[in-house]
Structure formats: structure tokens, C-alpha cells
Symmetry: C2
């Protein structure tokens, strides 16, 4: 099938990320979408500036309206941000019969009702997964996966800058202003961070989440909003003393008589999963009456995490081009004829780290013998615990933590260990993973 | 539009849950799907047994083939489990042109390739979100949301019984056998728990997850499987001493030369998010090259969590009946004409608990005055911290934790507190939520 042509509005951080992902992962994207997706047009205010993506094959212009008016472009990715000219560009693209993907939370929260109506009139789609919580598929989860539920409430850490500041205040005992200044130096916070720390950004996202959870029109102006600039390290410490962590949350509740949409700092019990989401990470918890609490966690900002959501929306749109249900979303995510034939490895060829526990005679030289066996198979040791024998016991437990090694070497080493005269019985082996 | 008729195969725990959700949440489901979804037919081995769902309007039979052959039924929900007759029933339903929803992991892991091919031949859909991790939309996330990513690995706690046992061994220092016996008494574990504790159930689920992550055919027989029955409380304690928790994980890695599909107990660093998933809860972490690590958490089993996924699949299928892209998934999850007109509440009408910090003169009777003011507004106190004054300081910080109250009462109380002679400056107020 012929490739799908994408026109990018904006080639900044997220825009470059989209171009990079589409190029780097072209093979898996084609296998999933059933079509090639390629960027053919792009607009940038300063096209001469160096970019972190390749621009070969892309027609570059300074005028975004040229891109939305180009008849070759089928999908527009709006990554300019803000209200105007983003709104005008999106409406014009829709009027031109193009599908639109946007990461623009302010646009959707404030003008979504108008934009959706225009898309409907033109028989095209607007997708906005990237507008909320970056790479976390929270819109898809609420809109397409929790659909059997009456949503009771949702609550999220949906601004990475605020969460980074509160995390530093908690772990390092620092004041708000100090952390913010450092975050700006390090590039974690915008040069003008006011929308992040005053709650505006979170309120935009919460507006969208509340609408899709409860089925209410977008009403940004009804959200109660408070930022984190008045939180002191003393409050963070007192809260901890009481068993709580302070998090900046966007929350939506369905209550008697209406909906409560709230963005403000919140004390959460220390063991709550949201209380343990640290740094720039985002997470949203959604409580459905049938499913109970569910949580979605990941990077809420940054070039590639946000671009990941933009590209997913593109693939959703392209999959819609295929009308048969089976071809929309392939059963195994990839189209059947393009499933991989690479083998599943036998366990002996898999590499992992190990926890070993063995019972050994309590006499000198045992540990040396054990470590020599491991050394013979190229297995290096990260930690050892040797316990004192219990009164009257002849054997002591020895616990070893090893570095990563192929399982076949560990199999051989364990066999040898079990034949050592000083070792009693079987060696217990549990694999260790750091999953980073 | 006319209602969609569902035929249920099996009216056990999950089947009853599906009937209950479709009835209880009929209004929100209709507003999301654009059609009424109703159960019209059902098969049960012992139809006379008492059920935890209403059966009015459902034609009940002992013969499941009657249901799959009935021309009035458009969607079949297969909730019998196991290989046969589930496989035969599903194939026959597909041949009869019906869409099939199933929660049957063994069926998909072992016969999925055949079943998908048959669905394709008949131009109908098979949906199986409920087969993996119950109510967590992990299949949708990997298949439709991380589609721009090259998936590097995924790892999940995907068997609630095993996780419950390991959690109890960790917190209570109990042995495997004791906890298992108790779990069976309490109904957390099946009468025959062998598929749970020997890893078979997790291996079925991992087979499916690995296929959709990497685009490889389903190959259950290639999964390395180990259960938790050899884990002792001593290993759990030694692991903790080394800074780890033992979790039973299903993991899939893309490695040099092929894929590693592994189900076994694993030491995970104590602060890892998966290490902190306790009890019967499930969670899956997926690492994409663009998005980084993402995590999906929720109830992995149980009547309503599993039924939540079954109903979501039904809504997905029904939305496919609508051919225009806009009508498939409504922008705000609910169809436009059915958005709710209930109001967003002003903050003064919202109820929450509060953390208050105030600075008061260090003299007798201050605390009594403060608590009296709160009492006057019906605000009751859950905890108080009063600090010793710093050397030379005239004021001491007083920290209060209150029970839930409407914000308007708290506004009034704070105003009064700030007018107390002994209170210095403003009262700091941070809201407290337990989000349970």
C-alpha cells in the first residue's frame, strides 16, 4: 500500500522526536500500521537552525499554513503549542479534510469542543493522546479500556516539573525556590516555569481527563487550581512526620450534585502508589466501580516519550484507513504476514544474575572452595552473606549474589558446587533482575 | 439504534460479573458505545444453581452450542476456560459469523494462531483483553499505544495468587505451604492451585504479551517456566538483607539472536516499582525505546475486574460497527449528544481533609483556643503536632490534621483562626486525600 504523508507543524523538541522515531522504528511501525508513515512536509520558524533530527526528504517552510494547505499531506501533527495560531491551523487542516494529531493540552482544554465539532463536520479525526501525561496512554485507557466502568474518581501526577521539585524538597530537604532555580539550570524546568508551578498545565490536562472519564463537556474555567509555590520544606517534613507525602495532584471526583475538578498540593498516605512516584515521572490512578483502582505510570514529558504518543495516534489513524475490523488492530499488534521468525531462546542461552543459597559445613576454607568453583566458570560475585551457625548445627547457610552470566555456566557451576564434599544438599538458585 | 445481543458461555464468577456490569452500568455503557448491549442468551452447566446475577430476559440452556448457533446472538462471550470444548465453541461461533470475546488465556496462548486465522476467514473479531492481567488494559496499551516503540522488554506480576503468597511470606515471615493453605481457605487460591503456583498460568499470559510486544507467533511451549513452590521464607529474608524483594515475574526480552521468554521467581531491587506491588494485585512494566519504562497496575483477577475487560472488549467490537472514524471512539469517550450536564462544583462545596500549619504564641491555652474554633465549625481533629519553641523564639508551629469537611467551613474557620490574637500570620492549608 502507498505510504501515508505527514506534515509537521513545529520541529522543536517533540517534533524532532517524532521525525526520529518514524525513521528509526520505520520497520516495526510499518509492521504494526500496515502502511509506511513518512514525514514529507514541515514548518519551522527558524528552518536554518540546527535540529536533532534528519531533514532529508522533508519539504521545509516557515509558513505552517503552506503545510496544512498542501494536498499531498494526509495527516497533520500540530506541535506548535499555545492557542493561536495553533487553533486556526488545526481548524483549517480539518476543513482541508486532513486528520490532525496534536500534543497541545491548552488547545484541547480550551477549544476542544469547537475542534471536535469541526472534525465531525469534515469526517476526519483529531487525536490528542500526547496532550496528557506524555507517553502514558491514559486517554486510550480511560476512553477505550475502562468503558464498562462508572468512573468514581481519577487522580494524577500530571506535571513533571512540579513533581521533580516536590521530590527534591522531600529527599534533600531543600526549599522550593532553590530547587526551581536548579531545575531551570538543568533544563528540567522551562525558562518561564509559571504554567508548571502555578498549576495551569495540570489544569489543562485534568480538564481533558475529567471529560473523558465522566462524559462532560470540556470546561477548563471550572477547575479549581492551586500551584506548589507556597509549599515549604517544613510542610514537607511535618507531613512526613504524620505519615504523608505532599504531591501536586490533578483530581476529578463524581460527587453528590456534580463533579469536583481540583488541582492542588495534596497530602497522600506514604504507602499510596502515587506518593511513591518520584522525579519527573507522571502517573494517573483511575478508580472504576468494576475494576477498582488502576494505575498508569511513565514519562510525562520529554522529546521521545511525548513523540511516542504522537506516533501512536498516527498509527491509530492509519489503522482506521483499513476498514475490515481485523485489519484495524492486528491480533498480535503486528500484521500477520510480518510476524518475526527470530527464535525464542532456550534458557541455557539466557543471561541473568543469580542469588544462590547453599548449606555448607562450618569449617575453614569452605568459602574459598565455593568462590573458586564460581570463578572457574567465569562467575563473579557481587555480595556474600555467611551466617553464624545455630547452636549445635554443623552447617551454615551461605548466600551469594552474582553478576550476570549465561545460565549454562551457572548450571555447570551449581552441579560442581553440589558435588563439593563440604556442601550439603541442593543449591537454591533464584534469578536477579534490575529491570531498568 | 437496535441493541446488540450477547450470548454468554459460562455464568460462573466472571460471567455473572459481566451480566451485573452490563445491567448496573447500562447508562454509561450506552453513552460510550452508542448502542445498548444486552445479554439475551447464556449457557450454564447447572442452570438451577443460585447465581450472583439476575437472569431476567436471558434464555438459559445447558448446551453452549445452542448459544453459538443461535442466529439472534451477535457477540459470544466465552468464559468457560480451558482448551476443550472452549476451542470448538469459539471456532464454531466464528464460522457462524459472530464476534467472540474471551478471557481464556490457555486457549489464546495455545490455539490463538488457529483462532485468529479462522476469525479472519469469517471477517469477524476475537478480543481477549481479559485473558491477561484481568482489568488492566495491558493488551490495548501494548497493541495500540506503544506502537511507535521498539519494545525492549516487558516484565509483569501476572498471577495474583503467587504474588499474594510471596507478599505474605515477606510481611509475615510465613512459609509457602502455610500461606497457600490459608489462601485456599479464604478463597484467594483455587481448590487446585497448581497452575497458579507452578507458573503455568503466568506462562500463558506471558506468551500472549511477548507476541504482541515483539510481533512473534504465539509459542507457549518455548517459555521457560518455574513456580514459587521452592521459595522459602529464609530466601525471602536473605533477599531483603541484600536489598531485594522476591517476586514471581513473567518476563520477555529481545536479545541478541532471539527472544527470552521467562517465568520464574526473581530478586528485584527493593525500590523497583514492581517490587512494591503487593497482595493479589497485578502490574506489568513495558520498556519502549522511545517512551522508556511505563507501568500498568490494577486487579488481575476477580469477578468484576475481569468482567470489566470483557465488557470493554464488547464496547470495542460494538464501536467497530460504526464505520465513521468519529463514531468509533468518541472524542470525549461518550457520544457527543449524551454528554452530561451535571455541574462542576465550586471548591467551597467540595469536601476534603486538611493539613493546617499555624504559628502561635508559646503560652498556655493556645491549643485549646485553636481547637475550639475548629470545633465551632464542626471540624474534628485527627492529629496534632506541637513543636517545642526554638531558643529565643516567641512562636511555635502547630500542625493539625483534620477529618473531612466542606471547604466553606474550613474557609470560615481559617479566617477566624487568623484573627486570634495568639496566632501569627497566615494559616497554611494543604488538602489531604487517601484516594482509596
Amino acid at each position: 500500500m502507498k505510504p501515508v504523508n505527514v506534515g509537521m507543524l513545529g520541529l522543536g523538541t517533540v517534533g524532532s522526536g517524532v521525525v526520529n522515531i518514524l525513521e528509526r522504528n520505520a520497520d516495526v511501525i510499518n509492521r504494526r500500521a500496515g502502511r509506511e508513515i513518512r514525514v514529507t512536509h514541515a514548518s519551522a520558524r527558524h528552518p536554518e537552525r540546527p535540529r536533532s533530527c534528519r531533514l532529508e526528504g522533508i519539504r521545509l517552510t516557515t509558513d505552517p499554513f503552506e503545510v496544512v494547505d498542501d494536498p499531498e499531506v494526509e495527516i497533520i501533527a500540530e506541535l506548535i503549542g499555545g492557542h493561536e495560531p495553533a487553533r486556526e491551523l488545526v481548524l483549517r487542516a480539518l476543513d482541508n479534510g486532513k486528520h490532525v494529531i496534536t500534543a497541545n493540552k491548552a488547545l484541547i482544554a480550551s477549544h476542544g469542543n469547537e475542534i471536535f465539532a469541526r472534525a465531525r463536520e469534515n469526517g476526519v479525526t483529531v487525536a490528542f493522546e500526547a496532550a496528557v501525561a506524555g507517553g502514558i496512554p491514559i486517554i486510550k485507557a480511560v476512553r477505550e479500556a475502562l468503558t464498562g466502568n462508572r468512573i468514581e474518581w481519577l487522580a494524577g501526577i500530571i506535571n513533571g516539573t512540579s513533581n521533580y521539585i516536590l521530590t527534591e524538597m522531600f529527599y534533600e530537604g531543600r526549599q522550593f525556590g532553590d530547587v526551581l532555580a536548579e531545575a531551570q539550570r538543568l533544563g528540567y524546568a522551562e525558562a518561564d516555569p509559571s504554567f508548571d508551578v502555578d498549576g495551569t498545565d495540570a489544569a489543562h490536562k485534568l480538564t481533558i481527563l475529567a471529560s473523558i472519564a465522566f462524559g462532560i463537556p470540556l470546561q477548563y474555567d471550572k477547575v479549581y487550581v492551586e500551584g506548589i509555590d507556597h509549599i515549604t520544606r517544613e510542610d514537607v517534613a511535618f507531613a512526613e512526620e504524620l505519615g504523608f507525602r505532599i504531591k501536586h495532584l490533578g483530581m476529578a471526583f463524581h460527587e453528590e450534585g456534580g463533579y469536583a475538578l481540583r488541582v492542588h498540593p495534596t497530602l497522600l498516605p506514604r504507602r499510596h502508589m502515587l506518593a511513591n512516584v518520584d522525579g519527573v515521572m507522571n502517573a494517573v490512578m483511575v478508580k472504576g466501580d468494576a475494576v477498582g483502582p488502576t494505575l498508569y505510570y511513565g514519562a510525562g514529558a520529554g522529546a521521545e516519550p511525548t513523540a511516542s504518543a504522537v506516533v501512536a495516534d498516527m498509527i491509530d489513524v492509519v489503522r482506521e484507513f483499513n476498514l475490515e475490523p481485523e485489519n484495524r488492530v492486528p491480533y498480535l499488534a503486528f500484521h500477520t504476514e510480518s510476524l518475526s521468525r527470530e527464535p525464542v531462546l532456550p534458557m541455557r542461552d539466557v543471561e541473568t544474575a543469580y542469588y544462590l543459597r547453599l548449606s555448607a559445613r562450618d569449617e575453614p576454607g569452605v568459602l574459598a572452595d565455593v568462590t573458586r568453583v564460581l570463578g572457574d566458570f567465569g562467575i563473579s560475585i557481587e555480595a556474600i552473606i555467611q551466617k553464624q551457625p545455630q547452636a549445635g548445627a554443623e552447617h551454615v547457610p551461605i548466600i551469594l549474589l552474582t553478576h550476570r552470566i549465561h545460565e549454562r555456566h551457572m548450571d555447570a557451576a551449581i552441579e560442581r558446587l553440589e558435588h563439593l564434599e563440604q556442601v550439603d544438599g541442593r543449591v537454591v538458585r533464584i534469578r536477579v533482575e534490575s529491570l531498568e
